[in-house]
């Protein structure tokens, strides 16, 4: 028997389950964050085809629905749903622990190192959930899109729906606000998942920050350009 297994004062608490532990739940949060971050990046790249015209974007929609004989999109949806669910579960569970860890707060606090982005993760995350539900009902299923054109057979109208959606300034405005929240969430999140997954080395620490900043600016910048391009008539 090793020393660590002998009864030391307080040793009743043995290494507990991965999902029950604080670091285990953080790792779940980080790993699902990587999946979701990968998704928003691919989503942004795919949508650049809106700048290439209706045929290109509609063809892309058809490709997404037909790959692997139609199974591909459901595999993606399954993975994204599972990742989002686990991400939200870890966030809620860790937040409750964190609130319980300081039942009496300070009268005075000074933030020295934390950022606006890191302190608002809970709020930006919550707004993103609301946005994602709206976005699915708006541009995927169309219930919240008055001018929605549903696909007919193998013909998709992603481009038409995209243009008619962003012609409404309030809708375009909400998308822009949601993208700014995505930026706040990603900027801390991308740096944070590298830290939680243990990727820290002085040689790459500067790179980690720049990676988070660069990708956040790219994804959010391109995404915001879509509603603005429609409103200004660049895409019509």
């Amino acid at each position: 028997m090793s020393v660590a297994e002998q009864s030391i004062a307080g040793a009743e608490v043995r290494g507990h389950g991965f999902l029950a532990s604080s670091v285990g739940r953080k790792v779940i949060m980080a790993a699902t964050g990587v999946v979701l971050f990968g998704f928003v990046t691919v989503h942004m790249i795919g949508n650049t085809q809106a700048y290439m015209g209706a045929k290109s974007l509609n063809g892309y929609a058809e490709f997404l629905h037909s790959m692997l004989h139609g199974a591909g999109i459901w595999i993606f949806r399954g993975v994204l749903l599972a990742a989002s669910g686990l991400h939200a579960w870890a966030a809620i569970s860790l937040t409750l622990d964190n609130q319980a860890a300081r039942p009496v707060g300070y009268r005075e606090t000074q933030s020295v190192a934390s950022t606006w982005s890191s302190r608002t993760m809970r709020w930006s995350g919550f707004i993103l959930v609301v946005f994602i539900v709206y976005h699915l009902l708006h541009l995927t299923t169309g219930q919240l899109h008055p001018a929605f054109k549903a696909p007919q057979g193998h013909e998709y109208f992603a481009y038409d729906n995209f243009v008619s959606a962003f012609k409404v300034p309030a809708v375009a405005g909400f998308y822009v606000i949601a993208q700014l929240c995505l930026g706040l969430h990603m900027w801390h999140g991308v740096w944070s998942f590298t830290q939680t997954l243990g990727l820290s080395h002085p040689r790459y620490d500067g790179l980690r920050r720049n990676f988070a900043t660069g990708l956040t600016l790219l994804v959010v910048g391109v995404n915001i350009s879509y509603p603005i391009a429609v409103l200004t008539g660049c895409i019509h």
């Binding site: 660590a4 608490v13 604080s22 300070y106 020295v112 190192a113 302190r119 830290q195 243990g198």
Partner: protein
């Protein structure tokens, strides 16, 4: 050096014991010399209170030379006050201005219950150390020096982590009252050395389990701990702890009890 004395107003958290509710009480600290340490200023205030027949403000202190980690208090919203890499005992009144108002609060964490006024019970840290913050070494005659090769880089990183004095400022500064900077410093200091290898992956699981059981919060990578730490412990240690924990969880196997062999 300026010898002008200062007049300050203190807002101090007073709490009779763990069960009573506490409140802020205002005290005047007049004629404070800029050369006094923060604790000497409190000593003078307490002498005044004792002379008036009032209870002095209880605060923890011991070595008063910045190495024991006992002098815990949050000064104007920052653990150990406004200066970086400084304990309260090493903070001098020249860091303040005449007429300043200073708020003094205890470390705030479920795991650090207030004992009285600014004194908190930090034995949660001792219990975390007790489950894994040690190595198994034969306690015989001393080995020859340098019989175990250790790279300079690891020796330095280990010594940096070992400079943690267990003061709890990281917990106090963390918006989530997380103890991960402290725990990761202890895990790194042993895990980077050959002597720490036999228990390396048991240690990380056991110490994290005890940390969770003590009701500390969890790290959300704000980085407040690193700037509050009087010894400059780096968040790199938390990343190392996470790495070790992931490996420990992936390769964990239950001990074989009474298995073959003598």
């Amino acid at each position: 050096m300026s010898h002008k004395s200062m007049n300050l107003t203190l807002h101090v958290w007073r709490q009779k014991n763990a069960k009573c509710d506490g409140k802020f009480v205002e005290y005047k600290a007049d004629g404070v010399s800029p050369d006094m340490s923060f604790l000497e200023m409190l000593d003078v205030v307490n002498e005044g209170l004792i002379a008036k027949g009032e209870e002095p403000v209880e605060f923890d202190h011991d070595c008063r030379e910045g190495i024991c980690g006992t002098c815990s208090m949050v000064i104007n919203g920052r653990p150990h006050g406004p200066k970086e890499r400084t304990t309260t005992c090493q903070l001098h009144m020249r860091s303040f201005k005449d007429g300043d108002s200073i708020t003094l609060e205890p470390w705030r964490a479920e795991a650090f219950p207030v004992v009285r006024d600014l004194v908190v019970d930090r034995s949660a840290f001792d219990r975390i150390i007790a489950v894994g913050g040690f190595i198994t070494a034969p306690a015989g005659s001393p080995q020859d020096a340098n019989s175990l090769p250790i790279s300079k880089e690891n020796a330095d990183l280990s010594m940096d982590a070992a400079s943690c004095i267990g003061c709890g400022a990281c917990v106090a500064a963390c918006p989530n009252a997380s103890a991960m900077l402290f725990v990761s410093a202890k895990i790194s200091h042993l895990g980077l050395l050959p002597q720490g290898q036999p228990e390396r992956y048991l240690r990380v699981r056991d110490m994290i389990a005890q940390m969770d059981a003590e009701a500390f919060g969890t790290c959300t990578n704000h980085g407040e701990c690193e700037t509050a730490c009087p010894k400059g412990i780096k968040m790199e240690n938390i990343a190392r702890m996470n790495r070790d924990f992931i490996k420990a969880s992936l390769t964990f196997r239950h001990a074989t009890i009474g298995g073959g062999g003598a």
